[in-house]
Amino acid sequence: MQLPVLLDKLSEFLMVEQGGLELYRVVASRCTDPALTQRYEAFGQETAIHRQVLVNLIQRLGGDPNYVSPTARLAQVKAAGLLQGDLVVDGLSQQELEANDLENVLLAETKDHADWHLLQQLAQQVDDPTVKQALQEVVDQVEDEEDTHLSWARDTLSQLALKLVTQGPAPAPERWQQVLTGPVPPIEQIHPAPIEQGLLEPARLSPWQETPVVRALRSG
C-alpha cells in the first residue's frame, strides 16, 4: 500500500470536511426556513466531528494533520468557489439564493460522500491489518451520516425546486427575461433626459447581441 498517497488523500478529505463546516456556518446563518436551518446546524455539528475523526486517523497512521497536500489546496479552492458564486452573481431572489445554498450543500456533500465511500472500499481492500483496522473504525462511525447528508440534500433540493416551479413565487415582471438578457429597462425609465442627438453610427447598433451559445449554434 502507498501510505503517502493515502495520507495525501486524507489531507484532502480533511479539507473537504473543513470546507463543509464553513459552508454550513454560512448557509445556516442566512436561511429563512427553520426546518432547513435546523438541518444545517445538525449536519454542521456532525461535520465538525468528522473533521476530528480524520485528524485522529491521520495521526494514527503516522501522518501530520498540519500537512496540507496539493489536492487539499485544490479542494479548499473548490469549496470557496461554491461560496464565491453569489459574490459574483447578483439578481437572485431570496428563494433562489436559498436554493443555491442548498445546491452548494448537495455539491459539497457529493464530494464528501465520495470521499467516505472510497475510505470504505479501501478498508475492504487494503492488506495492512493496522491500516485496515483504523479505516474500518472511522468508516463505521461516519459513513451512515454521510449517506444521510447526501440523500437529504438531494431530496430536499428537488422538493424545493418542484415547489418553486409549480407554486412560485415567480420573479417580478421587471426582472423576468431582463436580468439575464438585458440588465436594464429602457433608458427613459431610469433617466430623465437621455441624449439622442449628436450620436454617431455605432451608437445606432442594437446594444445586445445574441449569446455566444446562440451565435455558435448559428454558425454551425
Binding site: P183, V184, I187, H191, P192, A193, L200, P207
Partner: protein, 431 residues
C-alpha cells in the same frame, strides 16, 4: 493623411513575436514632443495610452497574485514587462518643461474629448448615459483647473487646448462629491453586451484611473494652499469616476477573459492612435506597439481556449471596427450640458437635482467634505475678485467662462433639465 482601414481581424493580423519585444534603455526612452508645437490630440493620445498601459500593467499584477499556473504566471510576467516598457516610452514623451498644471489641463481635455466621443459611439444607452454624466464633471474640472493655471502660472489654458475643447463651467465640481455608494452603476451583461461597449468601458476606466493617479501623485507639488486643496478635491472626484466606470463591468468575467479584453482594448486603442496620428515619429511608436499587442492578444486568446475552452472569437467577434478618434465634440458637449447639467445620481439611476429625496446620501457626504470651504469655488471667486482687464489672447475665454459661472451660481433653482423643452441653460448665452 493616408487612408487607413478602420476594420481589422485582430486574431489574424500578424504581430511582433514576443521574444522581439524587449527594448534597451536607449531605444525605450525617446525624445519628448515639443509642448509649443505638438498637436493637442497627439498629446491626448500620449496621455491616453500611458493610462492604458498602466491599467494593463496593474491588471496583470492582480491576475498574477491570483494564479499559480506556471504557464499563465510566466506569460503574465513576460507580457507585463512589455507593457511596462511601453509605458515608459509613452509617458517619457511628455516634455520636462510642461508644468504639472499644464499637463493637468491636457488630462481633462483627454477626459472630455475621449468621454464625449465614446458616448457618441456607445450603443448601450445606459452605458452612454454613464459616460455623459462623467463627461460634464470632467468638463467642469477643465474650467476650474484653467482658473488655477491663470492664477498660479499666468498662462492661457488654450495654449494647451488649441481651441479644440471649450472652457465653460459644467456641473459644478462642488456637486461632484457623492456618497461612495451612490456612484455605483449597474453592469453590462457579458454574454449579450457588444464587445464595443466592453472596450469603451475599459478604455475610459483606464483613462480615469490614470487621471486619478496623476492628481494624487502631483497635487502636493504646489506650495499654494489653494492648488493643493484643488488637487485633493478633484483627485477625489477621479476616484469617484474610477468606481463609477468600473461598476459597469460584468463581475462574472473571469480573469482570463478580462486579460484577453485588456489586450483587445490595447489593440483597439493603438489602432486608432496609429490611424489618426499626425506626427510621423510618434505614429511609428503606435505602429510598433500595435504589433506587440496583436501578439499579446493571440497568446492570451490561446490561453483562454486552452484553460477555459472558450474561443476568443466567439466571445469578442471576428472583426473589429475602430471608429474612435480624438476630435472636437463642442456641439455635443453643449447639448449634454444643456440637458443634463442639473442631473444627479441616485441608486443605479439619475434624477434632477430639485427632485432628489430629502435623505439623499450625498447631502450628508457633501456636508462633510465641503465644510470649511470648497477649493473649486474658491479658485473662481478669487479670480473674479481680481477683475484683471483682458490682456492676453486667452483671457476672453476665461472671462466668458466666469460670466457663465456667475450665472450658474445665481441660477441654482433653474431646472436646466430638458425634456419639457423649456430649458434655459447658461450655455445658450455663450456664442
Amino acid at each position: 493623411m493616408t487612408t487607413v482601414p478602420t476594420t481589422l481581424d485582430p486574431w489574424r493580423e500578424k504581430g511582433i513575436p514576443l521574444d522581439k519585444q524587449f527594448r534597451s534603455w536607449r531605444e525605450r526612452v525617446k525624445a519628448p514632443y515639443n509642448k509649443r508645437d505638438v498637436d493637442a490630440y497627439t498629446r491626448a493620445r500620449v496621455i491616453l495610452m500611458n493610462g492604458v498601459e498602466n491599467e494593463c500593467w496593474n491588471y496583470s499584477h492582480h491576475f498574477a497574485r491570483c494564479t499559480d499556473n506556471p504557464a499563465i504566471k510566466g506569460l503574465l510576467a513576460q507580457t507585463r514587462m512589455v507593457e511596462q516598457q511601453q509605458q515608459t516610452t509613452i509617458n517619457w514623451l511628455n516634455p520636462p518643461d510642461q508644468t504639472v498644471l499644464e499637463t493637468t489641463i491636457a488630462y481633462e481635455q483627454v477626459a472630455v474629448d475621449l468621454t464625449a466621443y465614446l458616448a457618441r459611439n456607445e450603443p448601450d444607452a445606459y452605458v452612454r448615459e454613464a459616460f455623459n454624466f462623467g463627461l460634464l464633471e470632467d468638463f467642469d474640472h477643465l474650467y476650474r483647473y484653467s482658473e488655477l493655471l491663470d492664477y498660479l502660472e499666468g498662462k492661457d489654458p488654450d495654449s494647451i487646448l488649441q481651441g479644440k475643447t471649450e472652457i465653460i463651467p459644467g456641473r459644478p465640481t462642488a456637486d461632484h462629491h457623492n456618497d461612495p455608494e451612490v456612484m455605483l452603476r449597474k453592469h453590462y451583461e457579458k454574454n449579450r453586451a457588444l464587445p464595443l461597449s466592453k472596450l469603451h468601458t475599459l478604455t475610459l476606466l483606464s483613462a480615469e484611473q490614470q487621471t486619478y493617479l496623476f492628481y494624487k501623485e502631483h497635487g502636493f507639488e504646489y506650495g499654494s494652499r489653494l492648488a493643493r486643496e484643488l488637487y485633493a478635491e478633484i483627485g477625489e472626484v477621479e476616484e469617484h469616476h474610477v468606481s463609477f466606470y468600473e461598476s459597469l463591468l460584468d463581475p462574472s468575467e473571469t480573469y482570463l477573459e478580462r486579460q484577453v479584453m485588456h489586450e483587445l482594448m490595447e489593440v483597439y486603442n493603438y489602432f486608432h492612435c496609429y490611424a489618426q496620428e499626425t506626427d510621423p515619429r510618434i505614429k511609428q511608436i503606435w505602429e510598433e506597439f500595435l504589433g506587440m499587442e496583436l501578439t499579446h492578444l493571440h497568446l492570451w486568446g490561446e490561453m483562454l481556449k486552452q484553460y477555459q475552452g472558450v474561443d476568443p472569437r466567439e466571445l469578442f467577434g471576428d472583426t473589429m471596427a475602430v471608429d474612435f478618434k480624438f476630435t472636437e465634440n463642442k456641439e455635443y458637449v453643449r447639448r449634454v450640458l444643456e440637458r443634463q447639467r442639473d442631473l444627479r445620481l441616485i441608486a443605479y439611476g439619475w434624477a434632477p437635482k430639485d427632485r432628489l429625496p430629502k435623505d439623499w446620501p450625498s447631502y450628508r457626504y457633501q456636508q462633510i467634505v465641503n465644510a470649511g470651504g470648497i477649493p473649486s469655488e474658491e479658485v473662481v471667486m478669487r479670480q473674479l475678485q481680481q477683475r484683471r482687464p483682458a490682456e492676453r489672447p486667452g483671457d476672453e475665454l476665461l472671462d466668458r467662462a466666469r460670466q457663465v459661472a456667475v450665472k450658474v451660481d445665481a441660477d441654482t433653482t433653474a431646472a436646466a433639465v430638458a425634456g419639457d423643452g423649456a430649458a434655459t441653460p447658461a450655455t445658450q448665452e455663450v456664442k
